[in-house]
Symmetry: C2
Subunit: 126 residues, 2 copies
């Protein structure tokens, strides 16, 4: 990639998503009210288009290789309020209103554990 492309991506107003070698962007979903990070998932061009067209967060399932509308089965959809883009345009922050728990385990957020000093996982209180 040329320096001109890099500069355009970083400073310009043109949306030029930089999909990785696997065809994916990283998506970080944040709760619009609490700003808590709810989940991390991946978007290909199809998921990005579906998200922008429907206003509901869509992802690309790396394990199943298919488009995935988050919450389509459970009802726990993520209504997108804003999409933020990082400097090199390979990651998105999706600010969304969750209709229910974001995690398939039933937790509000997928990040419900932290590494403790002994290298074990402990529940997060807050």
């Amino acid at each position: 990639m040329s320096a001109i492309d890099t500069d355009l991506r970083e400073t310009g107003s043109q949306f030029m998503p930089k999909f990785g070698p696997d065809g994916l962007l990283t998506g970080v979903v944040v709760d619009a009210q609490t700003r808590e990070i709810l989940m991390v998932a991946h978007l290909d061009q199809e998921a990005l288009t579906a998200t922008r067209e429907t206003g509901l967060a869509h992802f690309h399932s790396r394990s199943r290789g298919t488009l995935w509308c988050k919450g389509k089965t459970s009802g726990n959809v993520l209504r997108v309020q804003e999409i933020r883009v990082d400097c090199d345009q390979d990651a998105l922050v999706i600010v969304a209103q969750p209709a229910g728990p974001a995690c398939h385990t039933g937790a509000r957020s997928c990040f419900y554990r932290k590494l403790d000093t002994n290298g074990r996982l402990a529940p997060i209180d807050d």
Copy 2:
């Protein structure tokens, strides 16, 4: 992966990071004070070990293929306060105290633009 492995990863207290086919975890860095998302980068086993041993966020540069201590040149290191792990252990939230702007452009956060309704990028005010 068996159902038992999946269950252990999701509910257990054992840290079993699930590196992707590219050998990487996704890392989301959050400001320990403001909870603002500062950047997204990737960690291989080497970067994860270096981060845990030094208390400074390290990543694997996908473009250069090398270990990268964030801020080693600029001084804008990220002092790790807590590492949070998601349900399937393929993504980390790194709660950190930034010594300066996290973005190489000089911005506080790499997420300094949002998609507007016309599909263009606009600066974020907050």
